[in-house]
Structure formats: C-alpha cells, structure tokens
Amino acid sequence: MVTTLQADKIVDARGAQCPGPLVELIRAIKEVPVGTVVEVWTQEPRTKEDAKAWCERAGHEFLGAFPADGYERVLVRKKR
C-alpha cells in the first residue's frame, strides 16, 4: 500500500519543529493545482494529527501517514 501512493510534490520538513511541517504542507497545497498529491516529510509527531484535522477543515483528502527511515511521510491530495 505504501508504495502505490505516488506524490506529485515532496516537501522535506525534517528537523522543523511544530508548527513548521504543517505550515510547509499548507504552503505547498496553496501552490499546487487541484488533484495534486503532496507529501511532507516530518519528524514532528504531531504533524499527522494536525494535518488530518486541517484536511477535514479545509476540504482536502488526508491519504495517511507512513513511517520511513527516521521520519514520517504525510500524504494529502488537494481537492478543491
């Protein structure tokens, strides 16, 4: 499942503390066309929940968070 999700844009926010990764995700979503999948790399444990809650509010699709080597990949599809 992990490998089937292909991101169109990757944002490396490793090392950034809260709210850095969420801010980077929102900035990326703002810039890309509808339908784009954005992937954020984060080492901040709160990003997953924050991104999920933000997607619900903003009407985007939260595709999940997947563990990688020392960080987490958080994937979101821009829906509108």
């Binding site: 950034a16 809260c18 709210p19 929102i26 703002k30 709160r46 809650a53 509010r57 903003a58």
Partner: protein, 412 residues
Amino acid sequence: MGQAKVVIVGGGVGGTFVANLLAKHSDRLEVTVVDATGVHHYQPGLLYVPFGWERPERLRHDERRLLHPAVQLLQAPVERIDVDARQLRLSDGGMLPYDFLVIATGSCPVPDEIPGLAEGSHHFYTEPAAVRLREALHRFEGGRIVVGIAGFPYKCPPAPLEFTLLLDDWLRRRGLRKRTEVVFVTPLPQLFSIPTVAPLFEELFARKGIKVETFFNTERVEPERRRLVSLEGKELDYDLLVLIPPHRGSPLIDASALGDKGGWVPTDRNTLQVKGQERLFALGDATDLPVSKSGAAAHFEAPIVVSNMLQLLEGREPIACYDGSVMCLVEVGDGKATVLRFNYERPPYPPQPSVLWRWVKALMNRFYPATIPRAIALDVLFAAWQGKFAPLSPFCGSELMERLRRGHSGDS
C-alpha cells in the same frame, strides 16, 4: 598577531550585546558595528504604542550611546557580504574587511506576501505601523476587530496574543468592549504553537469572550469590502484588522546569497557559526534556528558567540554551546503577566499569571537601555530563575556542565 578585526552587521539586541561583550577584549580585538540607521529600537515596547501606553520616541535609542566606547560604529547601509573576500561592500562603494563577522541583521515583516494585507491590515511590529494602529484604534467606536497571525514565521510568537488581551483591557477602559466583538484568527490547530502553553491562553480568551478561529490561513484581504478570506474557504468581515504579517530575513542576506528560501542564515544550533563558515557567526532573528525570533534568544546567544570567537582566536575548537534558551515575559491583561522559559529540550510550563511577573516585565522594559551598554546580561537574572549560574553557561559543552545538565534533567 595584532588586533583581529571583528565586524558586526546590525545594531539590534544581538549585535549590540555581542559588541559590548567583545569590547572587554579590546586588547586583542578591534570591534566595529555597522548599522544602516544608527538608531536602536527597543521593539518589545511597540506592543504598548497602539494603546497610547508607551511613546514611540522613548523606544528609540542612539546606538552610539548603547555601545561601549571601545566599539566603533559605522552608520552605513551594507550592500553585500562577500564571504570569499572576507569583506563587506557598503552602499557608498566602500569596502570593510574583517577577520570575524557576526550577522545580526534581524528580520522584517513582509505584508506583501499576502494580497491585500498591506492595504487592509494594521500591525505593530514597526514604529510607523504601531503609530498608524494607535490612530485607527483611537478612532474606533465599536464593531468587529479581527486580530491574528497571517503567516509564519513571525517575530515574538506571543505578541499577537498579548496584544489581543491588552486590547480587551483597553476596550473595557474606554467603555467599548460591549460594542466590540474581538476575533482571533490563527493558521494553527490551537491558539499557540507550543502545546504546553496553548491551554493557558485558551482559558484566558474564553473567559474574556474573545472568539478564536483556528486553521484560518489568510489567503487574501479585501480592503474595500473589509473582508478576510481563508485558504480553508471561510470569510470574515471586519471593522478593524490587526494581522501580523509573515517575516523574512534581511534583504542583505538574500543579496549576499547567504540565506535559505526565507532569507534565514543556516546556523549551527550549538556553536552559532554559520554553517560551513568557521569565522562567521549569526544570532538573533537572522538565523534559521528552531527557536523564537526574539530579543531574548539573541541575548542568550550573544555570550556563546563571544566565547566561541575567543576560542577560535586562540586556535582552539569552539566549545561553547547554545542550548536553545529563550525567555518571554508575556502580558495577559488585568495587569498580570506570565513567563515562558524553554530551550531545545524542555518546553515551557508557564506559571499562573501574576502581578509580580508584570512588574518584572515593566522593570525589564525600563532598564534595558541602562543594562545593555554595560553588557549586563539579563541572563544573570534569568539564571537565578532557572536555578543555575549563567556565567558558566558558555562552557556548557564541558564535561562538568554536561554532568550538571544531565543531573538537572534527571531530576525533572
């Protein structure tokens, strides 16, 4: 070897403090501060200007008078830092060579990053903006005031919350609170970026009837309709808007190709050397460090920069390490304040707001211009609160300090 030339770019808290600490070593160092205006602004005081509780002229200081007599002040805009040639190119065409460079160029609000923000919104992060807001507030007769954060990063993270709580006080004193709805907007899922601090503000805001809109990323401001539109699809009308713009590093950093995409200087989180540059240091807002952009951070960083520069001068490894310490005294209204003390490892746990902390903040605001010329570190005071002896902190890389630190963190 004769005197080494140290050039400090920027005469704010960080630059001035580093210069005055280095002045004690004037037998070995020739210290020059380069500042575009020669005017030193005590920025924490701008918070009070919109309410008429502080006069802007009292926050302006002649940089020359704040600097130790052994420090030279060169009042000139810098066009470019040429790292390869180890010199600064000044706007008048002159060149200034250095052996060590300290980058203390600060940050600046950039309202232009959000459409309509510059025209439609107020803020209080510069003197002209704070004065304009004072005029607008004194004309205000009721309606909806929207306060908030337009983007990240921005200077002094608690300031928008402090402003909102003081605004509530001010409106009550003017008899306008019942006719005014105060709404706070933030891009974050909670009221403050640090989870251990958010509940304190949430309780205060709820008690004072201040509405909070979380996950509100301002996409644009429509000044003619007095409307705020968020990326999340929400619209909010306002009568008065006070939205803190996102900040960028100094244009000089961009011009010198020394910064990341935000104009922040990549800086070693412990030694405060510019990454990849042994004889370049950065401190304060100018860095890309994951700490608050605030004068307090610059204050804690200054002795580390000085200690490491002296180590290098003696041909030793820079061993002083900055632990991410920041301290903010935070106004919460009703004549009270609290304090946030934290570092890279430990988040802040603010004490119950009290009149005492409000007095400490007032004393700091009052005595800042007297302490900085003497390089009296506020961290002596801070250290007393932290329960450790500050003059040892530059040596926190030493084995003894490591053991003390481990012992300390083991207790908590």
